[in-house]
C-alpha cells in the first residue's frame, strides 16, 4: 500500500517473506524522517502512560484527607518522576516527532537535512528516558537511600547536593535528562536546517505553512535553552562527583544561581511545549472552518515575538526568593508583555472560525476546546505575573492548575487533535469518529473536573507537593472532585488507545486527502512513500493543494 508509483528505494523487498525480525530491524535502523517521527510520537505516548499512572497514584493518595496509601517519600518520587517524564519524555518527543514527520512533507522535501543525526537524536532521547527509569532498579546503590529521584522536576539546590540527596537517584535524574537533551538539540538543529535550506521550488518563507514557522521558533528556543540546562546539569554533576562548589552554599556557592539557570532554560521550555500546540491548531482550525487562516503574517510575527520575549521572563518563577523590588517589577512587566502576542493569536484563530463553514470533527473539537482552555491558562498566567499575587499563591495548587491548564488544556488537547488529524496520513487508515467523540467528551469533562477545581484548592491555601492534608482544612471536597476527574480522563485515554487499535484493525482507507486540506503533505499518498514525492512539488501560494483543486480560482491570484 505504500507507493502507487511502483518505484521503491527500500532495500527490503516489499511484503515478501518478511518476519517480524525484519520489521524490527527496519524500524531500529531507520533514518527515514517519517518512521523516526512515528517512533518519537509512540515512545512519547508510552511515557505518557507511565507519567499518567504516576499522576493517578498521587491523586489516589490525595483523594481523601489523612490518607496513607502512598508513603511520603514515595510521594516525592512520584511527583518528581511525573513532572520530569511529562516535560522531557512526553512533551519533547511528541513535539519533535510531529515536527520530524511533517516539516519535510509540508515544505516539499524528501527527508530532513541530516537523516542520520535525526536517528541518533531519537535514540539519545529514548535511552535518556530509559536511564531515568533505570533509577527505580539501580539507584539503591551505595546507601540504599531511595530509588527514583525525589528532588522535583526543577531539582532545586541545595536539595540536590551530596549531603541531602544521598545515593544515586539524583544522578539518574541528571544523566537521563542530559542524554535526552542531546537528542532534542540535534532534533532542533535538524528542523532549523531543513526548514531553511530544503524547501521545494516556490516554497518561500512567506508561503511555508504556519506549522513550519512555529516549529522554526520552537527549534530556535530548543537550541537556546537546552544547552543552558545541560551546562547547569554538568555543574551539578561536578558538584556531586568531583566536589566542586557551584551550588554548594557552605563553600560560598549560590543556590539561587541554579534557579536562574534552571528557569532560564525552564521558561523557554514551556514555550517549546506550547508553541507546537499553536502550530497544530493553526493547521486544524482553517481546514475545519473551510477558510484561510486569518492574519498569516501577524501569526508569524506573533510567534517570533513570543519566542524572543520568552527568553527574558524566566525569573517570574522566582518572585518568592527575594530578588528585590527592581527585578520583581521588571520581570512582572515583561511577563505581562507576553500576553499581547499570545492574545493576537487567540483572536486570529477565532477570526478564522468566524463566518466559516465549521465541521465539528474530532480534531476540530480538540482545537476549539484548546482555544478556550488556553485563554483561561493565559489569564491565570497573567495573574501570576503580578509579583504580589504570586507571593500569595506560589507553590500552591493555583500554580499547579495554571500550568496544567497550559500543558493539558493547551498542549495535550492539540496533540490529541493532531493525532486524529494526521493519523490517516501516517498510516493510511481513518480513526473512528465515534470512539474519538467518546475520547473527547470524557477527557474534556475529566480535565475540567480535575484542573478547574485545583484553582480553588490553591486559593484556599493548599500547598503543592504535600502528600496529605488534615480533614478540617476545607480542602477535602475539592480534592475528591479533582481525583474523580482523573478517572474520566483515564477512561478518555483508554478510548484513545482503543481508537488507535481499532483503526489498525478496521483498516478504513483514508486516501491521500481525507479532510480536503490544502497543505503539501496531503498531496502524496497515505502513508507517503519513502521518498515522499515522486517529483518535487512546485508551489505558487500558501495553499498549494487549493490551487490544484481550484484551477479556476487559485490562491496566488490573491496573495
Amino acid at each position: 500500500m505504500a507507493s502507487s508509483e511502483g518505484l521503491s528505494v527500500s532495500t527490503v523487498p516489499k511484503d515478501v517473506d518478511r518476519t517480524w525480525l525484519d520489521h524490527m530491524h527496519e524500524w531500529v535502523s531507520t533514518v527515514d524522517h517519517k518512521r523516526l517521527g512515528v517512533l518519537y510520537i509512540f515512545s512519547g505516548l508510552f511515557f505518557f502512560i507511565l507519567g499518567g499512572l504516576e499522576a493517578t497514584a498521587m491523586r489516589a493518595q490525595l483523594a481523601i484527607p489523612a490518607n496513607d496509601l502512598v508513603e511520603p517519600a514515595e510521594f516525592n518520587r512520584l511527583f518528581t518522576m511525573h513532572g520530569t517524564t511529562m516535560v522531557f519524555l512526553v512533551g519533547m518527543p511528541i513535539v519533535t516527532g510531529f515536527g520530524n514527520y511533517l516539516i519535510p512533507l509540508m515544505i516539499g522535501a524528501r527527508d530532513m537535512a541530516f537523516p542520520r543525526l535525526n536517528a541518533w537524536g531519537f535514540w539519545m532521547f529514548f535511552f535518556g528516558g530509559i536511564v531515568l527509569y533505570m533509577s527505580y532498579f539501580a539507584s539503591m546503590g551505595l546507601y540504599g537511600a531511595g530509588t527514583a529521584p525525589d528532588v522535583g522536576w526543577f531539582a532545586y539546590s541545595p536539595l540536590t547536593g551530596r549531603a541531602f540527596s544521598r545515593g544515586n537517584a539524583t544522578d539518574y535524574w541528571i544523566l537521563g535528562i542530559l542524554i535526552s537533551g542531546f537528542g532534542s538539540m540535534s532534533g532542533a538543529i535538524n528542523m532549523l536546517t531543513t526548514t531553511l535550506t530544503m524547501r521545494c521550488p516556490g516554497m518561500t518563507m512567506r508561503r511555508i505553512p504556519l506549522f513550519v514557522w512555529m516549529m522554526l521558533v520552537v527549534s530556535f528556543l530548543m537550541l537556546l535553552a537546552l544547552p543552558v540546562l545541560t551546562a547547569a546539569q554538568v555543574m551539578l554533576l561536578f558538584d556531586r562527583f568531583l566536589g566542586a562548589h557551584f551550588f554548594d552554599t557552605q563553600a560560598g556557592g549560590d543556590a539561587v544561581l541554579w534557579q536562574h539557570f534552571f528557569w532560564f532554560f525552564g521558561h523557554p521550555e514551556v514555550y517549546i511545549l506550547i508553541v507546537p500546540g499553536f502550530a497544530y491548531a493553526s493547521e486544524i482550525i482553517p481546514v475545519f472552518s473551510r477558510k484561510v487562516i486569518f492574519g498569516y503574517v501577524t501569526m508569524v510575527a506573533a510567534s517570533i515575538c513570543i519566542g524572543l520575549v520568552a527568553v527574558g521572563v524566566w525569573a517570574h518563577h522566582m518572585f518568592t526568593v527575594g530578588m528585590g523590588r527592581g527585578l520583581d517589577i521588571w520581570f512582572a512587566i515583561i511577563t505581562m508583555v507576553v500576553g499581547i502576542p499570545t492574545g493576537i493569536k487567540l483572536f486570529n484563530w477565532i477570526a478564522t472560525m468566524y463566518g466559516g463553514k465549521i465541521r465539528f470533527r474530532v480534531p476540530m473539537l480538540f482545537a476549539i476546546a484548546f482555544i478556550g482552555q488556553f485563554l483561561l491558562a493565559g489569564l491565570t498566567g497573567i495573574m501570576l505575573s503580578g509579583a504580589p499575587f504570586t507571593w500569595q499563591l506560589s507553590d500552591s495548587y493555583f500554580v499547579v492548575a495554571h500550568f496544567h491548564y497550559v500543558l493539558i488544556g493547551g498542549l495535550l488537547f492539540t496533540v490529541f487533535g493532531a493525532c486524529y488529524f494526521w493519523f490517516p496520513k501516517m498510516f493510511g487508515w481513518m480513526m473512528s469518529e465515534r470512539l474519538g467523540l467518546w475520547h473527547f467528551v470524557l477527557f474534556f469533562i475529566g480535565f475540567h473536573l480535575t484542573f478547574t477545581t485545583m484553582h480553588i484548592q490553591g486559593l484556599l491555601g493548599m500547598p503543592r507537593r504535600i502528600y496529605t492534608y488534615e480533614p478540617d482544612r476545607g480542602w477535602a471536597i475539592w480534592n475528591a472532585i479533582t481525583s474523580a476527574g482523573v478517572v474520566l480522563q483515564g477512561l478518555g485515554v483508554a478510548f484513545f488507545l482503543l481508537a488507535i487499535f481499532m483503526a489498525f484493525r478496521q483498516k478504513k482507507p483514508a486516501g491521500p486527502d481525507p479532510w480536503d486540506a490544502w497543505t503539501l503533505e496531503w498531496s502524496t499518498s497515505s502513508p507517503p512513500p519513502e521518498y515522499n514525492f515522486l517529483s518535487l512539488p512546485e508551489v505558487r501560494s500558501r495553499r498549494p493543494l487549493w490551487d490544484l483543486k481550484h484551477p479556476e480560482d487559485p490562491d496566488w491570484e490573491h496573495e
Binding site: A113, F114, M185, A188, I189, N190, L192, T193, T194, L196, T197, M198, R199, C200, P201, G202, M203, T204, L223, L224, A225, L226, P227, V228, T230, A231, A232, V234, M235, F238, L242, G243, A244, H245, F246, A251, G252, G253, D254, L257, F261, E538, V539, R540, P551, W556
Partner: protein, 194 residues
C-alpha cells in the same frame, strides 16, 4: 490565466552544511555562556585558598598559538580547494601543532596550579569555575584536534580532494569558534578575573 513563475529556492552559499554548523555553534555558545556567567558571578567570592591574581599569569604563548592556528586552518581550506595537496598537508600540520602546543601549555599551567599552588576543582569557587570553564574549552580544542588530525590523515592518503574543501571548511568553522571562545575565556579569566 497568467501563471506566476515558480522560483526555485536559492539560499546562495547557505547550504545545509553551513546552516547546520551555525546552529551547532549557536548551541555551543549558549553552553559556554553559562559557564562564563558562573565564572563572572563567582569572581572574588572564594573565601580561602589561592586567588586568581596570585596564581594566574597571562598565557601569551598559548593564546598566540591558538589564534594563529585559525589562520593556518583557513589557509588549509584554500589550498585544498585549489588542489595544492602538499601545501595543505603542511599548513594543516602546523595547525595541529599549534593546537597541540596550546593543550601542552594548558597542561603545564594546570600542573603548576595543582602541584605548586594546591588548587583543584574542590579547593574553592575559583578552582571550581576555573577548571570547568578552561577545561571545557580545552576539551573542545581536543575534539577539534581529533577532527583536524582525521582530515590530515585522509589528506595524506589522498582521499581529500578539492571537491571536499567545503566540508573541511565546516571543520575549520568549528575551529574558529573554539578560537573565539578562547578570546572570551581569556578576557574573563585572565583579564577581568585578575
Amino acid at each position: 490565466m497568467n501563471q506566476s513563475a515558480v522560483e526555485p529556492i536559492d539560499m546562495g552559499t547557505w547550504n545545509r552544511g553551513r546552516v547546520g554548523m551555525l546552529c551547532l555553534i549557536f548551541g555551543e555558545s549558549m553552553f559556554f555562556s553559562i559557564f562564563v556567567v558562573a565564572y563572572l558571578f563567582y569572581i572574588g567570592k572564594s573565601g580561602h585558598g589561592p586567588q586568581p591574581s596570585e596564581v594566574l599569569s597571562f598565557p601569551y604563548l598559548a593564546t598566540a598559538c591558538l589564534l594563529s592556528s585559525s589562520i593556518t586552518a583557513g589557509l588549509a581550506v584554500r589550498f585544498i580547494a585549489r588542489s595544492h595537496r602538499w601545501l595543505a598537508v603542511l599548513v594543516l600540520a602546523i595547525t595541529i601543532g599549534l593546537g597541540a602546543s596550546f593543550i601542552a601549555f594548558t597542561a603545564v599551567e594546570w600542573y603548576g596550579l595543582i602541584v605548586d599552588h594546591g588548587l583543584t576543582i574542590r579547593t574553592n569557587l575559583f578552582g571550581t569555575t576555573f577548571y570547568s570553564l578552561v577545561g571545557f574549552h580545552a576539551a573542545h580544542v581536543i575534539v577539534g584536534l581529533c577532527m583536524l588530525s582525521l582530515i590530515f590523515c585522509l589528506l595524506v592518503a589522498g582521499a581529500v580532494r578539492s571537491e571536499h574543501a567545503e566540508r573541511v571548511e565546516m571543520v575549520t568553522w568549528y575551529w574558529h569558534f573554539v578560537d573565539a571562545v578562547w578570546i572570551v575565556v581569556f578576557s574573563v579569566v585572565y583579564i577581568i578575573g585578575t
